[in-house]
Amino acid sequence: MFKTLRAMDAGCLTIIAGLAFGAIPAAATAAENQGITKDEILLGSVLDLSGPVASIGVPVREGQDMAIQAVNDAGGIHGRKIRIIYSDSGYDPKKAIIATQKLLNDDHVFAFVGQLGAAIVHVTMPLIINKGTLLLFPNAPLEEVYEPTKPLAFTAQPAYNVQARLAATYAYKTLGKRKFCAFYQDDDSGEQVLRGIQEGLDPFGAKLVEKTSYKRGATDFSSQFARMKQADCDIVMFGAVVREAAAAVLERQKIGWNVDVLVSQPSATDTVIRLAGGAAEGVLGVNQMLPLEMVKDQPNVEKVFKAYADEHGGRLPDPAFLYGYNFAMLFIEAARRAGPDLTTQSLIKALEEFRDVDLSFGMAPMTFTATQHVGSLSTNLLKVSNGRWTRIDVLK
């Protein structure tokens, strides 16, 4: 028995040591270029593929991959194919920072596309920009990406608080709501929505009547809703994410409170309807991207969805797919316009000449200038009607 144990020990240790020594030099020798070669453009993307928002990260990747695959199959951009390296952040800032550093310093990517998560972008943006690399179209509606304008950072979406501000203004002026309540997730994205609501109400001298929060992962919202019901609000604005938003909508139905609900971008998605069912009827939401059901019948979209269905057993992609697809397409379009001599500067120049560029894939037309690096400051106001999201208005 002892002999076997010794052999096992030595065997294990040798394998571990061997792999360690093999892996470390492999990581040390990295490509020594700026991410652009004669036939390749190297992109990086740090997404949450296994953590709390993996349900967004995975479809985003699918969308990006599909757009990139299509362009590669058609010959690439000016003869260059796009290769994209993904890293899983697990929505952990620490892992995201390490992953970003690796993509920057070891893999030398040309640009980061579709970086996912407000907290993630918040901490990795300085790293990326200080290295002279582009941060393009992150999946994080964060005001600091475009305010103040940074030469290397471009985004397609207005920030959470900007959308919340527009939504609150709309609720006040158009819907005539006066007693506002907020229900938000106890983290950065939720607090941004809260801030936006207050920003929207300030010009009217109005204030929040009640605000309640929850910790991500919570399943019981009865006390929060009881408190808000007692405050007798006429609208509850959500700064919540899909799962909790759906559960909260169910709670609202359970206590029989017919108050209007306006959800923020993360929850204005088909998944919430799928989870909450009939309780979601009448719910309002803001989202810069149109819901899947609304765009799926457009011919160009239908083609892509059919290709997706063929690969994935006949089902439609998740709404987050649209973000991935659109943002990748934005990069592709910009790279195309930049011409064969693709450099960081030529891409920036090409982007800054975008005027109402409409990709017709559910996203608003994009305009970038030297002083505006956010593609569109408007958002769609949506409402759940007959179990589907429909557009009511466009808020600017």
């Binding site: 296994s50 899983d88 983290d187």
Partner: protein, 343 residues
């Protein structure tokens, strides 16, 4: 586990000190020259090995030597990280920041020790776990000090006007601290306090009957482990450049426990092995998987599978951890080398 009683007697036993010393020096040399050969990515990864090791030494003293279960070490890392960043933000410089980190965490450790004296095992573990959750929430709500949920960006270390922001600088600093903590822990074992801790671990009642000051010793164990964790937290905040409440969760506390167990419970070398395992094994796994699958697929769930699976395997087949594996292999090699020379 051997209880060293006397420096000299230890040295005379089998003359191992010479060999141990050589290995130690060799390891130091390897650590020192790594920044010359490896990328910034690996430098920062190995920095985290040192940081986790520092926190690990603290946990080993508390758990491996004094036998006190703590499922909430992340709270002390958090207190250290936030104390350091707050003091630095106020403009007092990094040395003050680090001192604050250690002091605040030590005091917090003492605070935890008081009720902990009456609890043992399961209940102590759950109480410390609860403490961890509470500190996490405090970090999220006390925005004026901690920056709340948005977290706070941490500037580079500033010592007397010199900025130590480069990865290799933080690397050396972390390993320097790690070495200091290792030596401190090693010496602690030889003192009466260290022996008292082990006595408490093995049988608290017997220890008390033999005159060991149980309350005092437990207090020292908690404070020291918290102090080390606080130091690790301060280093962590600079290595990462950003801290937020979401990092100091029970996940981190569990990672530290897994690290100690896989490395070898009750040994100091085991802490280092465990820290290396914690940081390097996910990388290895990615490298190995990358050989079999094309593309850059990072499958969700692989990291918990790696840690959980390794933990189960270690506990079932090699409960004394990597440290025991290394010892046995080393002894086997030496025995055969000796017998070779005899021939």
């Amino acid at each position: 586990m051997q209880t060293p009683a006397d420096y000299r007697s230890e040295l005379t036993i089998a003359g191992r000190a010479g060999r141990q010393g050589l290995i130690g020096v060799a390891a130091l040399i390897v650590i020192a020259i790594i920044p010359w050969f490896h990328s910034n990515y690996w430098i920062s990864q190995l920095t985290f090995v040192a940081i986790y090791a520092i926190a690990g030494f603290g946990l080993q003293i508390l758990l491996g030597f004094a036998g006190q279960v703590s499922l909430g070490q992340a709270a002390f890392l958090a207190s250290g990280a936030y104390a350091c960043s707050y003091v630095e933000r106020l403009g007092f410089g990094s040395p003050a920041g680090f001192a604050a980190a250690v002091i605040v965490s030590t005091l917090l450790g003492l605070l935890v020790a008081l009720p902990a004296l009456r609890m043992a095992g399961l209940y102590l573990g759950i109480a410390t776990m609860s403490f961890g959750f509470i500190i996490e929430e405090v970090a999220a709500r006390w925005s004026s000090v901690t920056g709340g949920n948005a977290g706070t960006v941490v500037a580079a270390i500033e010592v007397g006007g010199v900025s130590l922001g480069q990865p290799w600088q933080i690397y050396y600093l972390s390993w320097l601290f790690c070495l200091m903590v290792l030596l401190l822990s090693y010496n602690l074992l030889r003192t009466p306090t260290g022996r008292a801790m082990q006595a408490i671990r093995d049988s608290e009642i017997a220890a008390r009957s033999s005159g060991v000051r149980v309350a005092q010793t437990k207090g020292i164990a908690f404070s020291l482990s918290a102090a080390f964790a606080g130091l690790a937290g301060a280093l962590y905040s600079h290595a990462l450049g950003f801290i937020s409440p979401e990092q100091f969760t029970i996940s981190m506390s569990l990672d530290l426990l897994v690290m100690i167990l896989i490395g070898g419970l009750g040994t100091l070398r085991g802490v280092l092995f465990g820290a290396v395992f914690l940081v390097v094994s996910p990388e290895l796994m990615q490298a190995v998987l990358g050989m079999f699958t094309s593309g850059n697929t990072e499958l969700p769930g692989l990291r918990p599978l790696l840690f959980g699976g390794s933990l189960i395997l270690v506990l079932l087949f090699q409960p004394d951890g990597i440290d025991a594996m290394v010892s046995r292999t080393g002894a086997w090699l030496i025995r055969h080398a000796v017998s070779w020379r005899r021939r």
